[in-house]
């Protein structure tokens, strides 16, 4: 029951207002502007001309856009499937108390130090088929001529690999910290019940990491949807359109092709897909209820 005294103790609108207003100006207003722009024809220079839903109708006929959506979802799935188990396993392992693990986890952290542009340029040099690692080690993975970025399928895998290289450290850190938080009593009881190492992982560690997995997954999904700088530098969407994800397609249409109206349609689409996916993840896993995994301890 909320008494009026209680109400005086609770934060009022003034607490939420600064952030809300700030985000309104720099977040919501631009989105609204983009929605408006999607209904116009504009080359970025003159004045936008209202054309109603023509751009949206063009979307239905744009095979490249549908292809981009497919590639984006594929890449997101790929990234999630690779990054989540990898980060989890390494994070759990790194959470152990052995001293060498502390040193190693520092080493694992290093890719986070580099900016996206730096990472893309470094990997571009490494993937050079004649002078880079691709040349030396390509044979090991069945690509003797080092042709990674030039083959449509391998290009997508290479891009997924670079993204993984960049972000696994971050997620490893999250899992590592979360694992260290797990109370040892749980493991002790499991051991008393006769559970072996592997079984302990599945019945103790994994459930305790549930909220972490959800949070990390939302970050991966949302991140993959808006990720495009590295791809721009590595393949520019190529070869052909093999790695042209939706943000890149939007960039090419808008800033290279000077068709800001249509690019705005793609932008709105991106925002919708992203919101949908995050809400989906959060709702279906009950994250929004913020239940604790330590109930009753």
């Amino acid at each position: 029951m909320t008494t009026s005294a209680d109400r005086r103790q609770r934060p009022g609108l003034a607490w939420a207002a600064p952030a809300a207003l700030f985000f309104l100006v720099f977040g919501i207003v631009p989105i609204a502007a983009v929605v408006y722009l999607s209904l116009t024809r504009w080359d970025g220079l003159g004045t936008p001309q209202w054309i109603g839903l023509n751009n949206w109708r063009a979307l239905a006929n744009d095979a490249d856009a549908l292809h981009s959506i497919r590639i984006t979802l594929l890449l997101t799935l790929l990234c999630w499937m690779i990054q989540t188990p990898l980060s989890m396993m390494i994070g759990v392992w790194a959470a152990g108390p052995q001293r060498n693990r502390a040193i190693l986890s520092t080493l694992f952290f290093l890719p986070l130090l580099l900016s996206t542009a730096a990472i893309a340029l470094v990997w571009l040099a490494l993937l050079d088929p004649n002078f880079g690692l691709a040349h030396n080690l390509g044979g090991l993975v069945g690509v003797p001529d080092g042709n990674f970025l030039g083959d449509p399928h391998r290009a997508l895998l290479s891009v997924a690999f670079v993204i993984t290289w960049q972000f696994v450290p971050f997620h490893t850190l999250i899992y590592q910290a979360a694992t260290r938080q797990i109370p040892h009593t749980l493991y002790e009881s499991a051991a008393l019940d006769g559970a072996a190492t592997v079984r302990q992982f599945f019945s103790v560690t994994l459930p305790q990491l549930r909220n972490t997995v959800i949070a990390s997954s939302v970050l991966i999904v949302v991140g993959s949807l808006t990720y495009f700088e590295s791809i721009l530098l590595l393949t520019n969407g190529g070869p052909g359109t093999a790695t042209r994800v939706l943000p890149l397609h939007m960039y090419i249409k808008g800033f290279v092709g000077f068709d800001m109206g249509y690019a705005s349609v793609l932008a709105v689409l991106l925002v919708l897909i992203g919101t949908l996916l995050s809400v989906l993840i959060v709702r279906t896993t009950g994250y929004h209820r913020m239940g604790s995994q330590r109930e009753g301890l």
């Binding site: 809300a20 910290a177 260290r180 943000p247």
Partner: protein
């Protein structure tokens, strides 16, 4: 009832009734067991492979940064360098690296501070407030989670120009902050939701209004979440290239990612110079990490683990 004191972080964190302290903060007071953590060979092997994958490119960056350009082109990336040179680092520093670094640092620090100052009160209001308008703002932030920067760059550019902020670091800081806000608020609300009602009621009984509750209870207990969003928004600000590109112009306002350009000519990249710049740009973050590592892990634990 547990007492708490301002700055008494450790006590407040253990305030959940009955919860044992997290494993890392107490030394093993009981007799040593042979396997406190089970040996996980699979993960160990995987980690070794992953270590190689992580280290090899970094090794290449380091090694290339001390080669001359012609040596790089003739020897390739992997071979141990024959003649070492620090000329690339000299060139990097001469090309204004110090200024770019300072600008990037300013952008990152101010973004982090601004995000914290905006997000924490908002999260507090969302978790504890009773107004429907306030819950409405939370939905607004959820909508903002997946906005790509390129999509809204033109409207933002127009807004920044109207505010007469073009070609200033503020022009980068403000939009970067806005873009980090949704995730930060989501993380902080999740952190604050774990503060038990009893603690709030304790403050209430003591006669504390929202301001005192905020200062004495919320801020200390939100420290883990604050560290998480500091890393998140700091990295975004440090790495960002779209906002600096479009919203700044002069060299005096240039940030590090744009500074890497100095090594990319129109018809060829000065790869060793680029690598030297990359190494130099990574050093400050590395230093921060080495100093703050324990706090980092401690902070992240409570931010995500619960």
């Amino acid at each position: 009832m547990t007492t708490y004191r301002a700055g008494g972080v450790s006590v407040a964190r253990h305030a959940r009734p009955g919860a044992p302290p997290p494993i890392w903060s107490t030394p093993p007071a009981r007799p040593r067991r042979r396997h406190r953590w089970r040996r996980n060979w699979i993960a160990g092997v995987l980690s070794a492979i992953w270590l190689a994958i992580v280290i090899l490119p970094l090794y290449m960056v380091l090694v290339t940064s001390v080669r001359t350009q012609s040596a790089y082109l003739s020897e390739g990336a992997i071979q141990p360098p024959t003649g070492l040179t620090l000329g690339n680092y000299g060139r990097t520093l001469r090309l204004g690296f110090g200024e770019f670094l300072m600008n990037s640092a300013i952008v990152a620090v101010f973004s982090i501070v601004l995000v914290g100052a905006l997000a924490l009160p908002a999260a507090y209001a969302i978790t504890r407030g009773r107004s429907r308008i306030i819950s409405g703002t939370f939905s607004m932030y959820l909508l903002g989670l997946a906005i790509p920067a390129q999509a809204v760059i033109i409207p933002i550019y127009l807004i920044v120009t109207k505010l007469h902020l073009y070609d200033s670091l503020l022009a980068i800081i403000l939009p970067s902050t806005a873009f980090s806000l949704p995730m930060s608020i989501v993380v902080l609300t999740s952190t604050l939701r774990d503060i038990p009602n009893e603690l709030y009621e304790a403050m209430f009984v003591d006669g504390a209004g929202p301001r005192r509750t905020f200062a004495r209870l919320v801020v200390p207990m939100a420290r883990p979440g604050l560290i998480t969003i500091a890393i998140f928004s700091g990295l975004n600000a440090w790495n960002g290239i779209v906002f600096p590109l479009v919203l700044t112009q002069s060299e005096s306002r240039r940030v590090l990612p744009l500074g890497l350009w100095n090594f990319q000519g129109q018809y060829g990249t000065d790869v060793p110079g680029l690598m030297a710049a990359v190494v130099l740009s990574a050093l400050p973050v590395l230093a921060l990490y080495l100093f703050g590592r324990r706090n980092l892990l401690r902070g992240l634990a409570a931010g995500f683990g619960k």
